[in-house]
Amino acid sequence: MAALCGGVVGSSFCRNHQLFRLLHKSFIGRLGCNHVAAQHTAPSETGSAQEIIIPRKKKWNEEAVLQALASTVNRDPTASHYRFQDDAFLTPKTSSEFKLFSQSQEAGKNAAEYVVNTYPKYFTKDYAEPHVPCLMPDTLKPQVSDVSEGALKELIQLRKVRQAVSMYDQLLQAGTAVSLEMTNDLLDLICFYGDQDPQQEETPDQEKSEDGEEQELPPKSRRGRSRKLEVWRKDNNAERIFNLMAERSERSYSALIRGMVKYGAQLKAFDLYADMLNNRMSVDVNTFNALIIAAPEVRQKYNEKWELIVEILKQMKEQGMRPSLLTFNAVLKSSRRCGPAGRMQALQTLSEMKAVGIEPSLASYNHILAAFYRTVFGPSASFSNVSSDILHKVMDEVSGKSFIARDPDDVHFFNYGMKICCSLKDLGLAYRLHQLLGVGDNWRFLGSPSQEAHYYGRFFHLICMMETVDTVLLWYRDLVPSLFYPNSGAMRDVLQALDTDNRLDLIPEIWKDIKRLGLSNKAGDLVEEVLSLMARDKHSPEVHESFAECALEVKATYGSGEQGQVTLDWTASALGNIASILLAAGRTKQAWDMLPLFKANNRVPAEKLLDDFLSSAMLRGDPQRAVTLVQLSASFSLPATARLAQRVQQECELNEEHKTLLVELEALSHDKD
């Protein structure tokens, strides 16, 4: 289509064609775009608000078509996430809708899988060539029903922890010897799942009780993340079976040690490790990794912790085990807990990694950053010991490379890096980090949607603080709402940026976005800030006009809405600001309609507001209104009543009844003094 129109552009036949007009509009916007590769520079504005004048003849650049096609390759900032349908009714507008819609789609998928697995006979006909195993129904019910090793094997495969344990016990009671392999598999299963049946994929808020037995889950909150970590119980099935075993191989020890470390019984793990050494068994790499991770928990002082880690590494060397990436990452992770000395060790570990020839993964860099910037985020945040070069050096190492996921901790790198950039207020680094995200497959390392939201929230916060309002708006249009839904804090940053650069005339558009994001009903202070910014300064008449329209919309969010709608309570400043905005725009009737609302909602108007009203009433030569104003202020028993009354008497032409009224009110207010 683009090629077609590019070819016939000059001809008069196409000039009047409706489709040509549409494409022409988009071409103008696309040709204005920066080069695609320089993604860290902000994208330029599409000509959506410009006047389109179609020339008689246009000379196209030779690469115009290519440029237009190239601009479609990148992310479309107007589209929502790919998992949603491309329809206005079905696109999520707030972050809660995002979560709701994706979860309901998941729930539908789970319902279908339930149906398929409950009635598998309807889904067994195989059309696919070659065979697609993931689209066949799962057999989740065990087939073998008698008590035998085959049944045990099946239960282990189906991940049924409790049933497997009871089957094992039955086998032992019946006297059949269970092979070492099978017992090791069973131990692996129990230790991996911590002696509980694996629960379904659940959100962190849900909690399920398995088979009626209530498990006591002490919520251990680990750094920033609260995960209900199950504790290694004393009367564990794993330990019991382990003790019952006649001969134990390295695999059994290994399974038990790793299970203990995973579920918090580190001391026992070290005891078992000592057992292994006494029995002169060879320990494998994964067990060593688990022990290194557990090391900081079993010693108190920093140097003792590090010594323990070094000892484990020495023993590893004695046994002839080659350290893997996970070993080094475990050392780095543990050295974070080893105090200030741990930092130097961390750097040395990194150089050793390179010497051995293992490419550091994002997790390694994450641990190093954490070791160095730990003091920046603690309760006593100090920049004294921090050499901020580390992040620069890390970025130098990492720029331009595409990573693969090799360690579960890789996903924390980007988030942590952006957190550091934010606290260091370094915008250049932030842009470099963001550019790294665009390389190859690195987008996968953003993690879960909540982690993504944190990342983009911090990035946007940094941009709002440091950049001019034009750049802020460009990034705003690029990121919102396709990549992240800003909360009220982020919108306040935008308003602040507008205020700093004197672009307050854009507030009505920002207000529309605020309403669409659903923040207008929840964040009362954000709405008040919008109003106060509009009411503050003097602007040109068109701007005041747009402000007045906006103020009327804001008025609708306050007060009594339709049934079921959450609305905000009126505050004095909100009422006052709306009234002054309406007055400034010259909409006197609507402004005067605001005054009864003060009384209705029990809010006291400010003195300055009353002065403004008085000035406008006198401009229009309306003494009746002026007198009602003084009456209003008297009803609130404001100290300014006397002054207002005097002003009215001096500046207005009053008839007799007005004068008597005023004299009464003045007397009243004087009495009160």
Binding site: F84, D87, L90, S102, S104, Q105, G108
Partner: protein, 165 residues
């Protein structure tokens, strides 16, 4: 065939020149029924009807498109009957799953291995219910036909009326 008797001398003479004036013959041929396929006949002008329903099948490829797009009707391609049966099942399945929500007939497209079901739905229920049903149909039909099934949904305020017949 039965031929009526010619009593007229005039007709006897004119029969030589084969004029069948006054000749009455009964023709009997096979019955030619009226076409009824996919047609809604004009009535009291109170029945709202969509564009798809209003145009008769002989307008396909002239004013209408196809509701089911696949390549098995091309020369040398196999599987047309299987595709048709699949289509019928899919239409009934989705009619039942999205009960009361379909605004018009489904359009089913096959691109390579993927089955794309394009539906036009009415905005009767909230978006989270629609997403639940979409996730459910996509998964179930994928398991059933062993190929990826995608839905492309467009929401419409009301059934779009083209004419009243």
């Amino acid at each position: 065939t039965v031929v009526a008797e010619r009593n007229n001398s005039l007709s006897r003479i004119s029969s030589a020149i084969c004029v069948t004036h006054g000749l009455r013959a009964i023709h009997a041929t096979a019955t030619c029924y009226k076409h009824h396929a996919a047609r809604i006949r004009v009535g009291k002008r109170d029945k709202p009807v969509t564009y798809e329903q209003a145009l008769h099948p002989h307008h396909i490829a002239h004013r209408k498109g196809w509701l089911s797009q696949h390549t098995s009707n091309l020369e040398g391609e196999a599987g047309a009957a299987e595709r048709t049966v699949e289509d019928v099942f899919i239409r009934r399945f989705i009619f039942g799953t999205f009960h009361g929500l379909l605004a018009d007939e489904l359009v089913i497209k096959r691109r390579g291995n993927v089955l794309v079901v394009c539906a036009l739905l009415v905005q009767k229920v909230g978006p989270q219910k629609i997403y639940f049903l979409i996730g459910y149909t996509e998964a179930l039909l994928s398991y059933f036909y062993k190929c990826p099934v995608k839905m492309e949904v467009q929401m419409v305020k009301d059934r779009v009326v083209y004419k009243y017949l």
